[in-house]
Point group: C2
Amino acid sequence: MAEAPGDIEQLIDLMARLPGLGPRSARRAVLLMLKKRGAVMAPLATVMAQVAVSARDCARCGNITNSELCEICRDERRATGELCVVEDVADLWALERGGAFKGRYHVLGGTLSALDAVGPDELRIPRLVERVAEEGITEVILALNATVDGQTTAHYIADVLTASGVSLTSLAQGVPIGGELDYLDDGTIGAALRARKRF
Amino acid sequence: MAEAPGDIEQLIDLMARLPGLGPRSARRAVLLMLKKRGAVMAPLATVMAQVAVSARDCARCGNITNSELCEICRDERRATGELCVVEDVADLWALERGGAFKGRYHVLGGTLSALDAVGPDELRIPRLVERVAEEGITEVILALNATVDGQTTAHYIADVLTASGVSLTSLAQGVPIGGELDYLDDGTIGAALRARKRF
Ligand SMILES: [Zn+2]
Ligand SMILES: [Zn+2]
């Protein structure tokens, strides 16, 4: 049995590792790329290679950026004293799409997890404690997912920050039990943010 | 509102054009790539750039290949006199996965469509007529999708090839009404092929 040439098989295998694409949809995606070599495949390869080199984590908040600091950390108008703690960059993007939050972020890079042996030092928790001390932060909004690991992480951070005297809040109404921020509509996220409650 | 850096937005936009990926899953795919820059993103960009340059249509059958002729056309054991006509390369791959067909293929590159102004010359129908005359073909299997356009195309090809005296068959039991070959399991495709009937 002969299928695709080796490099195309390799391309399909790599595409199939992306979330949302199984082997079948990876094949369809690759076939579409092959049909649109000039309009889709070549630019995609170019941009991807460029991003692979240029993208890095913001040295302050962990957001994705091409510079030392991300656009939000460079924007002085966002030094409001409010710091929104999220699990990952997808959640940061979701909050930015909502457009309701005017402060800055802190991207943990995951949640604490006994099962996966993720402790505070694997996340950006020590850096968060430093930032609260150094940046004149008055309020930390714990915008973690309403999952067990998300809430465990929120409680751990609340404990660690109690001594700092900073005000701790969390997203309130609108986040369903077990809900992940990135799957909520923008209006729901905005409402949850505006109605945030003391943690 | 600040979202991702420009090149990452561009990458998300290009990914969202692939079948099976909307804007949301494109963002998730890009974030996973950003997390796995070394293991996924860099190799993906490299292979994609390579395929964009090396992939071409087999000069004989229209299959995707890196050479003048595809692996199946280069394999003399597959000169069985049977020629299987499919709409696109996805269908060829589906039949190859089934493993039941030992002959060669002819990839039309689509179906006739009045709506999309696709006539016989936009497909590889003239080339099919030549091949039947030149390659000692005894049987043409019309393995087109069981859709209106697929069946219109099958009937058109049958008309065009009547004068050649070649035996015309089509896939039989197992292909559901409106069914697309690429979505069938391999066993079904094999059964349909073995039970093929005169067209
Ligand atoms: Zn930043
Ligand atoms: Zn070929």
